[in-house]
Symmetry: C2
Subunit: 212 residues, 2 copies
């Protein structure tokens, strides 16, 4: 309940306190939500005094920033893993599914990473969005290089915010439980996600009609 067991009696005079704090912060977030995140609590869980974290982070914001940075790595990996060995439109679908998988597997962490008020609050360096967007850059790159027939350049441009907000929005609404697959006749979450993404891509692949 209080110790984490993996230390052999020493008291972090080794330089691993920083990593231990980040790990325990993530553990706490995933177990009890962002609201439960307190520096004192993390210090307690890590077995150090309340003031110890200040030897490694100037403020709570900076610890959270570090947590976000760690999270973005997992996020990017999830997208990459899900998209590898795929090509063209399938690659795009893979990225989207990797995105949503991460969000569903780490809802609190995803939320922390993706919302401002927590991380505006949180982002001391101001670089979290930039880092977070790395994942999206993969999507952007794929969108740009994937040949969408019948699209002009400037039309294709608009697909970027479209795809981005689509995936981002779906992730959040699924996490929040506002959209449930059952409502739309899907018993399986994965199948629902695939269907929605497929539909999005099919829609986007159509040539634009000249009116009507």
């Amino acid at each position: 309940m209080s110790a984490n067991g993996e230390q052999h009696g020493s008291r972090y005079h080794h330089g691993n306190l920083r990593e231990a704090l980040i790990a325990n912060a993530i553990k706490l977030i995933e177990a009890e939500g962002v609201a439960a995140l307190s520096l004192r609590r993390i210090a307690r869980d890590t077995g150090v005094s309340q003031a110890a974290p200040y030897s490694h982070f100037p403020s709570k914001k900076d610890l959270i920033t570090a947590v976000c940075i760690e999270g973005t790595k997992w996020f990017g990996e999830s997208m990459r893993r899900s998209a590898e060995d795929r090509h063209g439109v399938d690659y795009l679908a893979g990225l989207a599914i990797g995105h949503i998988n991460f969000a569903l597997a780490h809802p609190a962490l995803f939320h922390l990473m993706s919302t401002r008020d927590v991380s505006e609050a949180a982002d001391a360096t101001g670089k979290v969005p930039e880092i977070f967007d790395e994942g999206y850059q993969m999507m952007v790159a794929a969108l740009v290089r994937t040949p969408l027939p019948h699209f002009g350049i400037e039309q294709q441009q608009l697909n970027i915010p479209l795809a981005w907000s689509q995936v981002y929005g779906l992730s959040n609404l699924l996490i929040e439980g506002r959209i449930t697959p059952q409502t739309y006749g899907f018993s399986d979450l994965e199948a629902f996600v695939v269907a929605v993404i497929d539909r999005f891509l099919q829609n986007s692949l159509q040539p634009l009609s000249d009116s009507k």
Copy 2:
């Protein structure tokens, strides 16, 4: 800095403390963000003691819930106002624009309403999502009754989560500053939003190709 001026010396022994607290809570959120939201601060701003709010709300969560409920009214009105006098697809676009307009006009409030960790944290009654979704029900109703040629029923069904997460995601990414209209060659935010929504609707209106 401390008083709000609209009271005539009396000390809220009238039954308007509840409304004053909600109003000042919203004022505080919009001025300093959700992070600054504290019961004691609101009480101070309203000119009452720290314990006074507990005569009207069992806990901080309940005050926030009341704030969310108030917010959903504005949200619904914004969508309705923006869509009135429009028909068919234009009506849908109006709803979407009303949604995004509200999010941009009241970012902190929108964020409070739409994110769980704050309002899971916040929603004592558990009914906030339900109420919040009222706005989306308009969208759903419109999507269902708007004739989209070439779509079967079950195909049309999928447009609901698609449109919903599209608008929701775009709202959030615009608020967070992650998507900027300038990136896509728009100097005007409104024009950008209209273009994206139009594109979404045009995409969705296409008949599905039978493969390829």
